[in-house]
Amino acid sequence: MAELTREEQEAVAIGDYKYGFHDEVTSVFDMRRGLDEAVVREISAHKNEPEWMTEFRVKSYQHFLKRPLPQWGADLGTIDFDNIYYYLKPVEQQAKTWDDLPPGMRETWDKLGIPEAEKKYLAGVGAQYESEVVYHNLQEDLAKQGVVFLDMDSGLREHEDLVRQYFGTIIPYNDNKFAALNSAVWSGGSFIYVPPGVKVELPLQAYFRINAENMGQFERTLIIVDKDAYVHYVEGCTAPIYSTDSLHSAVVEIHVAEGGRCRYTTIQNWSTNVYNLVTKRAVAERNATMEWVDGNLGSQITMKYPAVILNGEGARGEVLSIAFAGKGQHQDAGGKITHAAPNTSSVITSKSISKDGGRSSYRGLLQVNEGAVGSKSKVVCDALIIDEDSRTDTYPYINIDENDVEIGHEATVSKIGEEQLFYLMSRGLSEEEASAMIVSGFVEPITKELPLEYAVELNRLIQLQMEGSVG
């Protein structure tokens, strides 16, 4: 991977990344840099957590210490764990309206240009859709139906039994080094519960923003979709450009009960000084459906492989992954599916783009357990390389322990052809426009799966990434 000098990073920031500003919000409570058991206990104490959670954190911290860095995937040896702030509390209490936020922070949300819908969510109230504040109405309506949509800390306070039943069961604290770290110092994230039969028609949204330098953000999300229920959860993320690194390490656990369906969409646009090391896993019970739509455009290094365990007969899992690796970026992304029950089906579709020396890797695991008869799976990974300096790799791991299955795997690598560019340019499109058009066509099989607003946003981010890449 190409190393960037400080000047180059800033040039990249000015040229391509429009969310690289930060505001001067002073936190009301912050931990010292670095991590030890006292910090872990202090976070828990500060949050007035039940003892089982404190013990869970400490146990996780001890595992984090013992666990070596992964020796595969991207190079993580450059992370300076002692230089990171593990907990920063920006405001005394959750605001009920945008106006209750400190002016600097309020301005950030405005400047981010996040749709009104998302802003209103962060104030814990509602969001506007078209000309109506539909989210607010919906939320009241959904709350009456028993839907819970809270930040994770409130979720723990208000629904401790439910949290305790699932928390850390889908992704155990010792799953990997970064899951252990998150389990030790987690803060924030979403807690969602959708009762049986309730269909949440509009997406629930979360937006993650890092503001401080050397920040570690460790949100923790737990989504429980009960029988025959449906929810679509969307997350977005950005951060300021700094010359030193920040760390984002989330854990997302999802349980989809019989006949339920959950779709989880990420449009990740971290600045290029963020390490994005996230563990996401879902369990789908009988006839349930889990879909991950995972867009990785930002960050310095991303390692993320959303997983589905197909645990009940007839369960369906899908991973749609887009990775865009520009200058100085390494996107190591993909998906994991485990067929643990008969007649389960899965699809992994991965599209990666590498440009300006960027590196993208598809890393996937397809596991079919013995007894998962009649399982069907299809894996398609396509890579597009914009220029000679860039790189793409494919690591498709497939373990099949059952004979009666149907498995398909296809992989392609292509380059933007001179003839395609010439053809489009001969119609008046500039080289940048022509390249961007080819790229947006390349990812179209995934963008067409997104609600229109997010498809537009994703295309816009791809256009921004393509700008300045040629000429």
């Binding site: 001179e418 010439f422 053809y423 001969s426 119609r427 499109l429 500039s430 022509a434 058009m437 066509g441």
Partner: protein
């Protein structure tokens, strides 16, 4: 002064000289045909005029309405009013015909200072439907991906649709007749004839004279070994049909 002037044009690819001094003048309202045997440089001429990066121009100039064309990128040439109908158009998977055409039309409408002047959607839709009807193109084609899985005939019609939408001043048609049956040939020819006039001239490149039964050229030029060896009126087509390129020292079956 003619709209397009080609003077002593030399061009090579991978070090091999293909065009060895081409001279030609063409104005709006005129149809010129370039005929020649395989390998004579016809397609090279078309690509060099549009600015294909694989070709190196080693001598000569191309002037379009007073502007030096050879300095310009293909998109700048397009915005000036040049158009190339490709013999083998590229396919662009994932990009619909409608979306592509709208962006191309908007690129064409952009001001010299780069200022956008996007076409209004209803106007675009009307223009698109009118041109598709004229070219007998099924409307469902707008939601297909550009040239992706198109038959040979569909690709040629798509080239004609683009020409009609972009309204060039000079259209270069590179072997647009190759691989077409008579019906398709007629549709393509109608597409060209509909636009040729005070607003547009055409340079029709073809190996066979049959296209010239449908598109009447004012002038025919014979290109052999990178040079125009003969220019005459439309009657030259009959002569070439009878005698082939043998009189020019080329052993090839009759055209």
């Amino acid at each position: 002064m003619p709209d397009l002037i080609i003077r002593n044009l030399h061009a090579s690819i991978d070090g091999a000289e293909i065009l060895k001094g081409v001279d030609l003048e063409l104005s709006k309202g005129e149809v010129h045909a370039i005929m020649g045997p395989n390998g004579s440089g016809k397609s090279t001429l078309a690509h060099v005029l549009m600015g294909h990066p694989a070709y190196e121009v080693t001598d000569g100039e191309v002037v379009f309405q007073g502007e030096q064309v050879l300095e310009l990128e293909p998109d700048e040439r397009a915005r000036l009013g040049l158009f190339l109908a490709f013999q083998y158009p590229s396919s662009i998977p994932g990009v619909t015909v409608a979306n592509f055409l709208r962006l191309a039309v908007n690129a064409q409408r952009r001001g010299a200072d780069g200022e956008e002047n996007p076409i209004r959607i209803p106007e675009f839709r009307g223009m698109l439907q009118e041109n598709m009807d004229a070219l007998k193109i099924d409307r469902s084609m707008t939601s297909r991906y550009l040239n992706d899985g198109f038959s040979g005939g569909e690709k040629k019609r798509m080239e004609m649709l683009q020409m009609a939408m972009l309204r060039p001043q000079i259209a270069i048609l590179d072997e647009t007749d190759s691989g077409l049956d008579i019906d398709a040939l007629r549709i393509v020819s109608d597409g060209v004839n509909r636009l040729v006039g005070p607003e547009m001239g055409a340079l029709v490149i073809t190996h066979y004279s049959r296209l010239l039964k449908y598109i009447q050229p004012h002038h025919i030029h014979v290109l052999v070994d990178g040079r125009i060896v003969r220019s005459a009126g439309p009657e030259l087509a009959d002569e070439l049909e009878r005698e082939g390129y043998a009189p020019y020292g080329v052993q090839e079956a009759a055209v």
